[in-house]
């Protein structure tokens, strides 16, 4: 041991991490507090001013001083919208983090691999060709289109080889193709432009309890599956070859996690339209706070993403009140600069 020069060795297995990384318990605490605060703010803020104290007592199911009208605003308008925002934000963030683990790339988003393009094409087809029944069919069409986009990308990528780069490139190609088809259809039916675009930019303005209930099963299954694979994604971080030498089947893990992430993203897209950047920004912030282990990144992204989207939606419906901003615009305004920041900070590491 020539290099240690007799320095006294600390016998204990040192668990403290140098640098600023939150301990797991603290990280969970911060994430839960953030979500709770976001929920409370969103419940209180809006066109109708609710009394904060009464709102909190009503929220915990105690008799409160809220008028029947206020109660209706709270329980039939704001809470369903908050609930859907929590689900969508959590789903998009978990899907983004899961994809990032599978592809070992922090810039992959829940909408990649043809998911967003497929959803967009599905929704466009429903709006343009199904006429008045189309509006009701949009969520189903978007859900199916999103899953189909990922399936096509995965199959064409798997043919070209087993590498993650091949898969990502296949996703880009499939995405561009589906978007081209969608643009062509739109160009032939300009009267539907407005409706399609307002869907594309994402919105939670029509959120209902029913929507939340409809996506709940898919959300529960997909999130559970992704969360159970945190350790596998950690092993994958040393590369396919070494992961295999450690006894992991990278192809199998990748297939399971991609399928679950696709389901998560499709469930979110069905009720919200396209909301970008959440799946990139949230896991990145979580990594900065809690480190890169997916056993922490996945559950923390779920909580933080939920809080982030509740806040984003609150901004979307209050900033230009009584009108609303599309929530996709809000997340993009925050997300695009952060995306560039990630690019710059990781480029330095990669070169």
């Amino acid at each position: 041991m020539t290099r240690t020069r007799g320095r006294r060795l600390r016998p204990a297995w040192v668990t403290r991490t140098r640098g600023r990384r939150l301990r797991p318990a603290w990280a969970y605490g911060v994430a839960v507090a953030f979500l709770a605060a976001a929920t409370l703010v969103s419940a209180l803020v809006g066109a109708a001013d609710l009394n904060p104290l009464d709102t909190i007592t009503a929220l915990v199911h105690l008799p409160s001083g809220l008028s029947p009208l206020d109660r209706a605003v709270l329980f039939q308008i704001r809470l369903p919208r908050i609930t859907v925002a929590i689900m969508v934000g959590g789903l998009l963030s978990v899907a983004g983090a899961g994809y990032q683990g599978v592809f070992r790339n922090p810039l992959v988003d829940s909408g990649m691999l043809g998911a967003s393009a497929g959803a967009g094409l599905g929704a466009t087809l429903a709006i343009v060709y199904l006429g008045s029944t189309g509006t009701a069919a949009v969520p189903v069409a978007a859900f199916a289109g999103s899953l189909a986009g990922v399936a096509i990308a995965y199959l064409s990528g798997a043919v070209g080889g087993s590498g993650t780069a091949t898969l990502l490139l296949a996703g880009v190609a499939v995405g561009l193709f589906l978007t081209a088809v969608q643009t062509y259809i739109l160009q032939r039916s300009a009267q539907d432009l407005q409706q399609v675009y307002s869907w594309l930019l994402g919105s939670l303005s029509g959120a209902t309890w029913q929507q939340a209930a409809e996506i709940l099963p898919y959300a529960a299954v997909s999130v559970t599956v992704v969360l159970l694979h945190g350790r596998h994604l950690d092993v994958l971080s040393v590369g396919d070859e070494e992961a295999r030498a450690l006894g992991l089947h990278p192809g199998r893990v990748r297939l399971v996690v991609v399928a679950a992430c696709a389901l998560a993203a499709a469930s979110a897209v069905a009720v919200s339209g396209l909301i970008g950047f959440v799946g990139i920004v949230v896991p990145h912030v979580v990594r900065r706070l809690a480190g890169p282990s997916y056993r922490l990144v996945l559950p923390l992204s779920l909580l933080t993403g939920a809080g982030f989207l509740v806040l984003a939606d609150t901004l979307a419906r209050t900033v230009v009140s009584p009108a609303e901003l599309p929530i996709g615009v809000v997340t993009a305004l925050v997300g695009a600069p952060v995306f560039v920041w990630i690019l710059r900070s990781t480029a330095a590491v990669r070169t």
Partner: protein, 271 residues
């Protein structure tokens, strides 16, 4: 202590035959060094033993053919350290060493107390426990290699496969790492198979050498039998002299070609 016997190992990659019916053996607790020119098939042989490549022929560990053994079962017996391991920059040493316990974990289970204990022991063994909380990106070359070895040791393998374990290190760290490996071999009875570029190091640390050339075994045996001037000249097209160090291990010294006849450009008076 485990013995490996490789019999008729044939590997094709992209329809090119890389290994032609290679046969060799390592005695229990021994150290086998694979030597040979670039492209001879040394790494391919290691990867085949690790189960990372499809192959024909038999790889037998303690009498059991590894051919039927894949995934976690194989990973409990064999640890593989590639020439340039992937070190996720933000992972801590502790998190990384713990990955070595992967073969022992069920699909949905997490590392338990015993796994942490094993990882901690491996870290102390390789003297990396004192910086267990540091990010991998912050480690020096020698520290990195010890951390990677700690991960392999946490795997509690019977066989350790090392691909050029010293290629990224300066001479001091090279010796340190090789001594550590030899120490593990002696104290834990781990059987070591490594590729080594440096022939003198191969002769000093490995008890048995296999010289590969174009995917075939050119020579095999104890270092003095393999590292001869003629063989090295033929296989590597290299000009060397072979002497012996005080312990009797062959020492390979490269030689320059004899000086060209005096030419006009030489400065006057220079001899």
């Amino acid at each position: 202590m485990s013995a490996i016997t490789i019999d008729g190992l044939t590997v094709d990659l992209d329809h090119v035959r890389i290994l032609h019916a290679v046969s060799c053996a390592v005695s229990p607790g021994g150290w086998l060094a694979l030597i040979g020119p670039n492209g001879a098939g040394k790494t391919t042989l290691l990867r085949a033993v690790a189960g990372l490549l499809p192959y024909r022929g038999a790889i037998v560990l303690d009498g059991a053919d590894l051919g039927s053994l894949r995934g976690r079962g194989r990973a409990r017996l064999i640890a593989y350290v590639p020439q340039i391991p992937v070190l996720p920059p933000d992972l801590t040493v502790q998190e990384y060493v713990l990955l070595g316990r992967t073969p022992y974990l069920g699909y949905l289970s997490s590392p338990g107390r015993a796994d942490h204990q094993q990882a901690a022991e491996a870290s102390q063994r390789l003297d990396v426990a004192r910086f267990a909380g540091r990010r991998l990106a912050s480690l020096s070359g020698g520290e990195r290699q010890r951390v990677v070895l700690a991960r392999a040791l946490a795997q509690d393998p019977k066989v350790l496969l090392l691909d050029e374990p010293t290629s990224q290190l300066d001479i001091g760290y090279q010796q340190q790492v090789l001594e550590l490996v030899d120490d593990l071999r002696r104290s834990r009875g781990v059987t070591v198979v490594s590729t080594l570029h440096d022939l003198t190091q191969a002769s000093q640390y490995a008890g048995h050498l296999v010289l590969l050339s174009d995917g075939r075994v050119e020579a095999a045996g104890p270092p003095p039998a393999v590292l001869t001037q003629d063989l090295i000249a033929r296989v590597y097209a290299a000009r060397v002299t072979v002497t012996a160090d005080p312990a009797g291990h062959p020492v390979i010294t490269p030689q320059r070609p004899p000086p060209a006849p005096p030419d006009a450009s030489a400065p006057p008076g220079a001899s």
